[in-house]
């Protein structure tokens, strides 16, 4: 029997046994749909995380006080080991040609009072260059300048949420006075709303010059972070190791184990996040794969039932001259057609659910061909793999036993 005729027979047999066919397909539909859905959600989540992270640029380095290997208390920035002087050194030394900007950062959580209202906020002492490095835009007024830094100016750039809390929604509070820790600051600018990213909400910040923050507001000589940007991201790693050895020398540390600061780069964070999301995707895909396996076993079950149910039919076909391979081919094609048609339904269901899910949990829907190709390949494999055993059972039936089967 040629392939076309075998296909025809198999197709008719499936079409004429709709309930059995639908039941066998169900597992595959669910399996493929969940694979597509999971891969699509994972991809959407990954891309929204990576786009957030990559918006910070791949040329940033952050130095934090404390040793990350020595437990969370230090890693959180609770130590005082990173000095403002370290930042000035990195900025003014000629040893680091790849460093373009240096921005020391201090921060504290406190209240801001103004216009008779108060609000909880995070006060960040930053350099004027910080706004550029973090791609912060201004809606009203202006940022403070390097001059404000040099003269310890008591000026503040506030986030739109702070502005709304103190001065009302949509007002332009430039020129108004706010009070932070009993010091009066003149508001000179309002940042553009960015919306909350993962942990920090830039809209709830009050930015003041880092010098003012250290000397007048907090009275400290250490910083919580030094942000740096480099000119050539390709030399990021060597720049980091240069900074590391220079700071070790400044802190009189000879043993790497006693290091009292840690350096991370945005590239590193991106890579770590990439790894995490990759592992997550693989895990979810594994779970979906198990549901596919269950679907495949379902197909095998139904095929085995079908072979038993059709024993007499197989006997008749053998009397009519069907050879082993004719029977094998017919059942195998039935199984493959089952899984492929089930797979197509599964893809349609999966893509539809993916679109719905991306709307609900607000991640981008990214249509990709590879899960579909993957699913198609998986379906054919499942069809062959789980169809082979029942088909062989059918093909090997002794014609006389089959005909006599009751």
């Amino acid at each position: 029997m040629n392939f076309f005729d075998a296909f025809n027979i198999s197709f008719l047999s499936l079409r004429n046994n709709q309930l059995r066919t639908a039941l066998a397909m169900l597992g595959i539909v669910i399996g493929i749909a969940s694979v597509i859905l999971i891969i699509s959600i994972a991809n959407g989540a990954t891309s929204s995380i990576t786009s957030e992270v990559s918006s910070m640029g791949s040329n940033l380095i952050a130095i934090m006080p404390g040793n990350q290997d020595k437990g969370p208390a230090q890693a959180m920035g609770a130590t005082k080991s990173l000095k403002y002087a370290d930042a000035l050194y990195l900025k003014n030394s000629n040893d680091f040609p790849n460093i373009s900007y240096v921005a020391p950062v201090v921060q504290t959580s406190t209240q801001a009072v103004g216009n008779g209202e108060d609000t909880n906020t995070t006060v960040m002492g930053v350099s004027s260059i910080f706004f550029d490095m973090q791609s912060i835009d201004i809606d009203y007024g202006d940022f403070f300048s390097e001059e404000d830094e040099n003269f310890y100016s008591k000026v503040a750039v506030i986030g739109p949420d702070v502005a709304a809390d103190l001065f009302g929604e949509g007002a332009d509070p430039t020129g108004q006075i706010i009070r932070i820790k009993s010091q009066l600051f003149r508001v000179i600018g309002i940042t553009r709303a960015k919306g909350s990213s993962s942990m920090i909400n830039p809209d709830e910040m009050v930015y003041i010059p880092v010098t003012t923050a250290m000397k007048i507001v907090m009275g400290q000589d250490y910083v919580q972070m030094i942000q740096l940007s480099v000119t050539d991201p390709n030399q990021l790693d060597s720049t980091i190791s240069e900074i590391k050895s220079a700071l070790m020398e400044r802190h009189s540390i000879t043993d790497e184990k006693n290091i009292d600061f840690s350096i991370t780069s945005s590239k590193e964070i991106q890579e770590t996040l990439g790894n995490i999301t990759g592992i997550l995707t693989a895990m979810l895909a594994g779970i979906a794969g198990i549901s596919l396996l269950v679907g495949g076993i379902g197909v095998m079950n139904i095929m085995l039932v079908s072979v038993t149910e059709r024993t007499k039919e197989i006997g008749l076909l053998k009397a009519l001259g069907a050879r082993r391979k004719d029977i094998l081919l017919q059942f195998l094609i039935e199984s493959i057609v089952l899984t492929i048609v089930g797979g197509i339904f599964g893809m349609v269901v999966g893509e539809s659910l993916s679109i719905a899910a991306s709307r609900i949990i607000d991640i981008p829907f990214i249509f990709q061909a590879y899960p579909i190709l993957l699913a198609t390949g998986v379906c054919v494999t499942i069809g062959v793999f789980f169809g082979l055993y029942p088909s062989q059972r059918a093909a090997k039936l002794n014609p006389i036993d089959a005909l006599k089967y009751e």
Partner: protein
Amino acid sequence: MGKNPIISLRDIKKDYNMGDNSYQALKGISFDVYEGDFVSIMGPSGSGKSTLMNIIGTLDTATEGKYIFNGMDITKYTEDELAQVRNEKIGFVFQSFNLIPRMDVYRNVERPMLYSGKISRSQRRDRVASALKTVSLEDKVNNLSNQLSGGQIQRVAIARALVMDPEIILADEPTGNLDSATSYEVMSFFQELNRQGKTIVLITHEQDIAAFGKRTIILKDGLIAEEK
């Protein structure tokens, strides 16, 4: 009748093994069937008729004895070679379960030609049409088996048995499920086919059905009791 036997059975024995016990259903059967013959094999239930027909039809093998089919010693044939013999040289009509379920008449009659693999689509269409014409069922070509009467189902089976133009038609109680009027109608088709030269071996336990044949072999307890 031709000179060479299509079927030549010599001392055929068949044992059925059931655990430790063994039951001999055929105890030494010998006879020949020549081209153009119409042999009725009669006997009471359990006398070994179906066992004998399954051996003749190469669906089963004898435990002992010699069986020459159409000049070929088929005892040494592989399963696939036997399938080809059944496909090209033997047409079967059974008592029941004759039609492939949920397939229409056309696809049932066409099926042996698909297994042959040598017959084009248009030839198949012509042959199905002419086989159905032989049994006067041209108008049922697109019916499913559940839309046919018992007599019509047996006639479709006859058409399918004819479609490969086999050497012989084997029918095992083809009228066993039919009333006598319908039985005679079905038998008249067998008789007409034999008149046109087809060799037929018919199994029945009814005297009046056996009478449609040219000669009758009567089985009893696995042996030939009488030939007439």
